[in-house]
Every structure is written in C-alpha cells, then in structure tokens.
Symmetry: C2
Subunit: 300 residues, 2 copies
Amino acid sequence: MLIDGKAIAARLKETLRGELEAIGGVAGIATVLVGEDVPAAVYQRRIDRGAREIGMASRPEQLPADATLGQVIGKVAELDADPDISGILVLRPLPAHLPESRIFAALPPLKDVEALHPLNAGLLSLGMPRFIPSTPAAAFHMLDRHTEAAGRDLESAFDGANLVLVGRSNNVGKPAAILGLQRNATVVSCHHHTSQAGHLEEFTRGADILIVAVGVPGLITGDMVGEGAIVIDIGINAVDDGAGGVRLVGDVDTASVEPVAEAVSPVPGGVGPITDVWVLRNAVAAAKLSLAPAGQLVLR
Amino acid sequence: MLIDGKAIAARLKETLRGELEAIGGVAGIATVLVGEDVPAAVYQRRIDRGAREIGMASRPEQLPADATLGQVIGKVAELDADPDISGILVLRPLPAHLPESRIFAALPPLKDVEALHPLNAGLLSLGMPRFIPSTPAAAFHMLDRHTEAAGRDLESAFDGANLVLVGRSNNVGKPAAILGLQRNATVVSCHHHTSQAGHLEEFTRGADILIVAVGVPGLITGDMVGEGAIVIDIGINAVDDGAGGVRLVGDVDTASVEPVAEAVSPVPGGVGPITDVWVLRNAVAAAKLSLAPAGQLVLR
C-alpha cells in the first residue's frame, strides 16, 4: 500500500489550527531565501501559503545571490527583533560563498525551528530536543500514523526493530538516527560508502523500517527491500519526463517496492506535505517557548 | 592479539608533553566529585596524578553528597574564573537529586572538555567538534593506532566498514556513532532492545569493528564475533574475584573472543589508560582555544 501523506498532513494541519488558537494565534514564520535556487523558492512560497491558510504571520524574505555574510546575519537579527515572528528558517542551499555554519550559529536559538544552531542540534542529540527538524519529524510522524493505523501499539512498536537509514546528512540522516534510538529501534546508518563497499543491499533487505534520504532517483528497488518492510522516501528529485518537462520522483522506485513492502510513502504526496505543516508547527512550538518565561513572571 | 592500551597511552602521553610545552605549560584540569562514588573518586585521583606527572595544573574538588544544585553550579563558576584551569570535568554519577542536564548546561563551553554542554554536543554531532569526549576519542585513537600497526591506510581503512556499537549512551554510544560516520563507516547502533528482540548476535557477528560500552560483564563472547573483527571493550565492571575481593572485567569475554578476532582490547589495560590521557589532552586543547583570541589581538 501507499501511505497517503496528504491525508496525514491535512489531519496534522487541523491539530495545528487548534494549537495556534490555543496560544491566541500569536506565532509567525520567517523564511530567508538567498539567491534564486528554484526548489528553495518553491518551498518558500509553499510555507508562506501554508502559514496564511491557517492565519499565521508569514514573512518571506529574499536576498540577492551575492549577499554578504553580514547582510544575511543582519537580516536574521532583524527577524529576531520582530515580535510577530516566532520561527526563522534560512533556506538551503546557500550560495557557495556563504559559510552555513556561521549563519546557523547566528540564528536565535529560541526561533531556530529547524534546529540548525549547534545548541539545538546538541539538545536533540542529548535526547532533550527543543525543536525536531521538520523533515525527519515528518518521516516519524508518518511512521507513527501508519503504525497506529495498522493496529500496533506505538509505545512498543519500534522496540528492537531494525531501522535502516540511507543517508547521513546533518538535517535528515543524523537526527533520524537519534529519533530512532529514542524509539528503541536498532539503528543502521548507511550511505555512499556502504554502497561502494557492496553492503547496501544486505542492510536494506534486513530493514523492518527503511528511511531513504540521499537524492538519488529510484535508488531503492523492490529486490533491495525485505517482505513486509515499511519504506519512507524522503528524496525529491526532478527528472526529465521524456516530454521536455520535469517530474518529481523519490529515492525509492515505488512501483517495484510497493508489492514487496507492507507500506511505502510516495513522492510526491508522501513526506513532503507533512514536512510543510511541521515547519509551521515548530513555529507554534517556538511561540510557546517565547511565551513561557512571561507566564512564569505572573506572581500571585 | 590483545591491543596494548598502556603502550598506546604512554606514546600519547609523550605527544601530550610536547603539546603542553608548545603552549608554555599553561593548561590545567579541574575535576568536581559530588558525593562518594568509589569509581568516580578513583578516576579523580588518576586524573590528578596524571596531570601532575606531566606538569599540568590540577584542581580536584570535592562536594558533599547533599550539595545543592546551586553549590555545584557555583563551584563550576569558581573554576571558570580560575585562569590556571583550562578544562573542567564534573564526574559522574551525580547524586540522584542533582539534574545532570542543568549542571552540564552551566559548564563554560570553552572549558567543557567532555563536550557535555549541549552546544559542544551539537558541534560534535554537526561534524565540527570543539572537544571529543575522552572515552569514544580513546576508543578511536586505539583503533587508529591498531590500524596503522596492521599496515592499513588510515585515510580509507574505515570506508564502508561495518562498525557495530553496543550501547547508545550520550557519553559513549552516540558520539562514537558520529565519529564512525565521519570515518565513512556504516554504523549500527545496538542496545538493550536489540538484544531483547533477539538480534544482537546477527549484528555483532557481521561487525568488522565492534565497540562495546554497556556495563554488562562478559556480554560479548567468541561465538558472537566474526572471524577477523577488531573488538574494542569500553566496559569496566567490578566483579567478585571469588576470594572476597573484586577484580575489573570488561563487557567482552576476552578469553573466548581473542582466538576469533583480529584484535581485542583488554580490560584493564585497554581503552582506560588512553582515556585518562585524553582528558588531559582535551584540557590542553581547551587552553589553546582560550589562547587563540588573545593571539589574534596581536596586530602587526
């Protein structure tokens, strides 16, 4: 079966509306696009539209491709000072002359909804997350909803399960490993060198849960997946559609994997729509954090 | 063969003497023991002795078992203000009433040689470590020295190797996973639930490199290890010696593993002595960090 990411995202959006209402609607998301990367620009518009739909403040900012480090950090500082903005997202990829790590370290930690600041990455890795980056969060949200729908107990469903990750990036593979360990799964982190050494298939075939995030169209085929596995596809790749245009495909060859797997998430319509909502949800979580200290000051 | 941790530690200590000399000997380690945990007290004395041996300042501090959170954090602040101290180590276990995470978050990040502060844990997980916690650092130092001694190229020796970790703690298992990924190994993180699910042996048998840190005496036996594996034992357990005393054993049953493995690290005399030196080495690294800004101020 295919997991319907759009339906899960729609339900999550309803939850989010309630959460936003509960804090009086005071949350806002700012996105910073530097340069003209097309997928990043599309993502920025999607977040902006999603925020407006649920009545959340949105500030999509654009800087030219030749923006200096100071200009980007200055923009972040300006957004930090905006009381309507609870969450700030600097979109990737950044132009090559901008050092990611300096920009991420300049993010205000309480508005750093993608946990890119080392402090938030550390809290996550120590098992005390303030924010969970939206893509791995969305993957696990999908996994949880599928697990519930299959009638399994969320409290123990992942205990000792073989969770195989393909990809070791800071924004997906590594946080997903942490989230998997927190759910008591055995976690196998595979990547390019696993494949080079000829071991990728051994590991993917043994997976109870397979999460793939490498950006290689159709890398995972049916013969690489064990009977009954749950396969979550995080890749989004634009490929030639044979008619002069492009179409989006994932890292998983859904057609050959679906007959073997218990469930597989499609691309498009899988993890993507859930991620879009999760970004906004993290902005609401950030607003709650910024409200908390004020609440604690009420002495009576 | 057994890997001689003492010999590796002795060579590392010589390197360290040179590093200390290069910065004019200006480095110091402070250790904070809260309460009367015997292994922690033994560890504190070992660090103190090691520091004095190489002419490094050492400040072993003791607080009573009923010390308040404020007293512990106050002591840390006092050590932060001491210009002779470049590295601070709060020894574990802490008494149950003290919240570890609050104490670690109060460590001055530039003196936090065990990378316990979330900021340093984050820098490590993002692949930009300021400090590498001494126990996993020592395990990989041992692995590197063994790899060199076996005539393999350190640059590529771990590419696509199956690195199996048993244990998922914040101070060993998780940083070891990060260090393994940085060396291009496929990393498998096993733990209690892997064992409960009956999968531990499958994974340990497939390991090219097996690192064990769980605190279960003799958990890993020869039948659980593949031919030619390298086995690093991080466990240190005090067990009844059958004569009214105790003796130290690791998590690996060395007698049955040695004939199967390419190499195995013994306990005692394995990772432990290297760890002791690494703590001091991190204090020298911290001193370099604290010297760096002053050096940058010399304008000419």
